[in-house]
Symmetry: C2
Subunit: 194 residues, 2 copies
């Protein structure tokens, strides 16, 4: 941020009175421009014991497989956003299930939230951000070409819960740390939109 979105004056980065961290502040009109983490919402769609994944048509991670997900939009609930992204990216009919995972990705200022979802029929109509959407057997998931670590975590939790027949005791949670240089930066950049 370089200029005030309210009055077009240059902003400065400083700690406002009564605050304890740096914000972009307009010294002309007094606006304080807060920046906060964003929420990515999606689903883990299941049909007859198989999981639906989408091959991404867009960056970041074009060509890699993901669960249908995207940024929560203003005016919708987390559950509505998860259902909308699933429809937009995979074009499938779902019944939304449990709030299944919530993973922080603080180094890109994101929180990723996934619901379980049951597919209600065979329709699969990938949207413009998806090259291909298809069902995978659980023993044939494309682990080596997943788009994001939060997707990999969520799939591993799902398989692990099934394998151990665990009762549900609340969403799985974790924090993804910034990748080191040898590792894939597979959660997207802060300015990117899954």
């Amino acid at each position: 941020m370089k200029f005030c979105s309210n009055c077009a004056h240059a902003v400065s980065l400083r700690i406002p009175d009564g605050d304890n961290r740096q914000r972009f502040v307009c010294e002309r009109c007094g606006s304080i421009h807060y920046e906060n983490p964003r929420i990515v919402v999606g689903t883990l769609p299941v049909q007859s014991g198989r999981v639906l994944l989408c091959k991404r048509a867009i960056e970041p991670r074009a060509g890699y497989w993901t669960l249908p997900a995207g940024f929560l939009e203003c005016g919708e609930s987390v559950a509505q956003g998860a259902a909308r992204e699933t429809e937009e990216e995979a074009g499938i009919d779902i019944t939304l299930g449990l709030l299944f995972s919530m993973v922080d990705v603080p180094f890109v200022n994101q929180v990723h939230i996934f619901y379980l979802a049951e597919m209600n029929g065979p329709r699969v109509e990938p949207g413009p951000e998806t090259l291909e959407a298809r069902l995978f057997d659980l023993d044939a998931l494309p682990w080596d070409s997943l788009a994001f670590r939060t997707v990999e975590m969520t799939l591993r939790w799902y398989l692990d819960d099934l394998r151990h027949a665990r009762p549900f005791v609340g969403p799985h949670t974790s924090v993804v740390e910034r990748p080191t240089s040898g590792e894939s930066g597979a959660v997207g950049a802060s300015a990117s939109r899954p």
Copy 2:
């Protein structure tokens, strides 16, 4: 938003190519300025069967009682944010517990998330945003002077779970609808910061 925060040119509100909803777009530098819901994080702190509440020193809802909570900041996890806000507003030592409630407030573009927390000692040092912080017996909670509906919901769920000795099966969730004219608008305005 009136001006581009990147180049100070006036922005227009239109649907960008490849998108399906209106965004603030700069026709000079091409920047698209997305706006997304923000996350409010807090705790329900408990000590010896009593619950800690904070009387708000600031608007919105100054003078009303709330659970310690505030906006999640960039670079921190949801759990870290909840612990930080609890320290800043109440000045208490806690051990963070279960992810207890997640309530959408779509008409102000917020998602409120509360954790249970156990107080580790008697220290209570209200911060500058808090007039008073104190423990309430469960049968003497100030129902008529609570600051926000998400706080009321969270407290009611807590009492209800205790009363029925319910096993924990995941966070409580709900959606707060826009208040009608006869109702208190007690979740804060979109531009306000709890």
